[in-house]
Amino acid sequence: MAVAATFLAGAGSRLLPPSIPFRFFGAAVTFHVVAWLAAMAGAGQVPAFAGGLGWPLAALHAVTLGVLAMTAIGASLQLFPVATRRPIAHAGLAAAVFWTYVPGVAAVVVGMGLPSPALLGVGAVAVALALVVFVVLFALNLSGAKGMPLVVAHGAVAAVSLAATLATALAVVAAYTLGAPVDRATMVALHLALAGYGFMGMLALGLSYVLVPMFALAESPPAHRAWASFALATGALALSVPAALGVLPGVLGVAAAGFGAVAAILHVQLMRETLSRGLRRELGIGFRLARIAWGALVASLVLALLLALDVPWPRLPTLFGATLIAGWLLSFVLGILQRIVPFLASMHAARGKHRPPTPSSLTAEQPLRAHFRLHVAALALLAAGILAGNGSLVLAATAAGTVGALAYAGFFATAVRRMTASIIDAGRLNR
């Protein structure tokens, strides 16, 4: 009864039923495959992609909404209550978010790909409804936080950014579906900064201050340097808004990219120091992906700086988008998710067991190794395809990405199957 009893007595209120986070993670793993397939369908248009409906935009949103935000919602619903020491309220609403959000994302992706503005509009409304509920749940949890001010501060900026991202997204969708008189270029610039660096970026940076020391078994990074990174990142976001709206775009855009780059370098340095001080020397493939992601984060801000300086290269925005979304955020999320899944699975499989299954017994290393190689190959081919303006290289990237995503799905299915078998087994023993 030892571990299980402790769980159920003390942590029950802070742990969701496994079906809630795992359904978000399962959907994210599925949309990961969909994203690469959508990119494959539009491979020829990817090197010159600069917005507009079609399969490249569908692939982009299959990643951002389907993989990144999906994982962020599942992880936030589970991890923030533990971090903030606030019990989970409204677990039913969390499930409702899922059942509204997943069909909404599917409709958005298909609506963008075909393209079908009507389907896109319906999907966007469902996604917006689900995200509004999520933001409210998230804000309620943060508002009563009893600890971890740094994580809470990052979460608060992420929540505000998500709300603003939604507003810009709905404005752009209204332009597509209703012909609303919206300055699409301005809204898209705002949308990209707020979604990529604001919502997902701040959430990733904030949760890293808990997850990275936890997985590395290291003390937290020095708070004053972490706060400095947070202040610079928040300042960069704040500057990017007027820059996107056309207020001194050159000056403020350069300042935003510069502040963001310094914040990112500071954060990455803190993470590297944390890893080097950790008790755990073998951090696994997940952290190899995270290291690639951190490199891409800094690279994306250098590219943002070049964009702000109006460097005349037509494929620069595409390379920037790919570096930000696939290089930084996707690599990071997939790296951390492969550590979280067996960890959470072990916690849930512990119920009713004297000796719970270990995280390592619930994971599947072989598919993760295959995914790592294929993901890195896909990123390299994608960058080469954009740089060379070559659709065939992008097609090869999407083939590698798709097979890699299937391998990742194999890892996830194995972890869930082993967790479920363990829970059923414990149920039999307790009967």
Binding site: A5, T6, G10, R85, S220, R355, S360
Partner: protein
């Protein structure tokens, strides 16, 4: 190990108090004690809250946790190497 954790030996064996540390430092302090070999069979830890993320790490090391009576507002666990 964090300087803020307290360690002492009582009649029932070694104790480690990690209250007041911010996450994930309590977990790091506890696992440092196990991994460093300071306690090879069993010890008691005093925490502010249920260490939900500690359990998979204990399982990975072949240790188990048993809740024991504690003061209000405290979580106390007896950690033992599984036989």
């Amino acid at each position: 190990m964090s300087a803020a954790s307290r360690r002492w030996v009582a009649a029932d064996g070694a104790h480690l108090d990690v209250r007041g540390l911010k996450p994930p430092e309590p977990m790091v302090a506890i696992l440092s004690m196990i991994d460093g070999g300071a306690e090879k069979t069993a010890f008691t830890v005093h925490l502010e809250r249920d260490p939900v993320f500690l359990y998979p790490e204990l399982a990975e090391r072949g240790w188990i946790a048993t809740p024991v009576a504690a003061d209000p507002g405290e979580v106390r666990l007896r950690l033992e190497r599984a036989r």
